[in-house]
C-alpha cells in the first residue's frame, strides 16, 4: 500500500525513434526489439557464419545509431531501414572478400524459384544444379532480389520497403529476373 511503484512509461516505436535522436540510451529498446530479426537475416545471407553475422549485426546497429538523426518516417516500417543497412553491410563484406563465399540453399528454396518460373521441369539433381548456375550468373544486385524473395522468403511488400520502391515495382523486377533465369535455363 505504501510502497512506491515506478510506472514504466511505454513508448511507441515512433516515439522511441524520436527520443533516440536526442538520447542514444532510448535506442536500446529498438536494439532489443530488432536484434534477433537482423541477426537471422544476416546469418542466412552469410550461409550460417555465426561470428561474422554477430559482427555485421553490431555494425548495422552502430550505423543505425550514428545515422538515426537522418531517419525520416516515410511510411515504411523502421525495420526496413535496418534491413537496408544490413543488406549494405553484407554486400560490403562480400565485396571485401578476395575469394568467393558460398551460401547454401536447399531443395525447397529452389523449388519455390522453379514454381514461380512456371517451369514444368522436375527437381532432379541435375536441374537443381542448373538452376543454381543460372542464379549464380546473375549480377550481384539481381542475386540479392532473388535471395530476398525466395531464400529469405520475404514478401513483395517487405522487399519494396527495403528498396524504397512500390510493391508493384518489386514484383515487376523479380518477375523480370525470373524471365531472365528462364531464358538462361532454356539456352
Amino acid at each position: 500500500m505504501f510502497s512506491k511503484r515506478k510506472n514504466k512509461i511505454v513508448y511507441s516505436e515512433s516515439e522511441l525513434i524520436e527520443l533516440s535522436k536526442s538520447n542514444q540510451q532510448h535506442f536500446g529498446a529498438l536494439y532489443e526489439k530488432y536484434f534477433d530479426t537482423i541477426f537471422r537475416f544476416v546469418f542466412k545471407r552469410l550461409g550460417g557464419d555465426e561470428a561474422v553475422s554477430g559482427d555485421l549485426t553490431q555494425q548495422t546497429f552502430m550505423k543505425a545509431m550514428v545515422n538515426i538523426q537522418k531517419y525520416e518516417d516515410r511510411g515504411f516500417p523502421f525495420s526496413s531501414w535496418l534491413f537496408r543497412i544490413a543488406q549494405n553491410e553484407v554486400n560490403l563484406y562480400f565485396r571485401s572478400q578476395k575469394t568467393n563465399k558460398t551460401v547454401d540453399v536447399n531443395e525447397n528454396q529452389l523449388k519455390s524459384v522453379l514454381e514461380e518460373m512456371d517451369s514444368s521441369s522436375n527437381m532432379s539433381m541435375e536441374n537443381q544444379e542448373k538452376l543454381i548456375q543460372c542464379i549464380n550468373n546473375l549480377e550481384p544486385d539481381q542475386m540479392d532480389l532473388i535471395e530476398l524473395r525466395f531464400f529469405q522468403e520475404m514478401s513483395f511488400k517487405e522487399i519494396a520497403d527495403i528498396y524504397d520502391i512500390s510493391e508493384a515495382n518489386a514484383k515487376m523486377r523479380i518477375y523480370r529476373l525470373l524471365e531472365k533465369i528462364q531464358k538462361n535455363w532454356n539456352k
Binding site: D36, F39, G47, S53, T57, V103, E107, I132, M143
Partner: protein, 66 residues
C-alpha cells in the same frame, strides 16, 4: 563475391537463440558509439602545439594568397 551452392541437407538455416544472445550486447554497442562520437575535451586551439600549427598554417596561407 558470393555464389550459391546446393545443400542436399534439407535443414533450414536458422541460428539458435543461444547463438543470437552470444552477440546481443547493447552496452558494448553504446560504449563503441560513445568512443566513435566523442568530441575532444580540449579545443584544438588550447593545445600549445596545435595552436602553433594553426598559426603556421594561417601564415602560409596568408603568404600564398597575398
Amino acid at each position: 563475391m558470393r555464389k550459391f551452392k546446393l545443400n542436399s541437407d534439407q535443414k533450414e538455416l536458422e541460428p539458435t537463440q543461444e547463438q543470437i544472445l552470444r552477440y546481443k550486447n547493447f552496452n558494448s554497442l553504446s560504449e563503441n558509439h560513445k568512443k566513435l562520437t566523442k568530441r575532444p575535451k580540449k579545443p584544438l586551439y588550447k593545445d600549445p602545439k596545435m595552436f602553433l600549427f594553426i598559426i603556421l598554417i594561417g601564415l602560409i596561407a596568408l603568404l600564398l594568397f597575398s
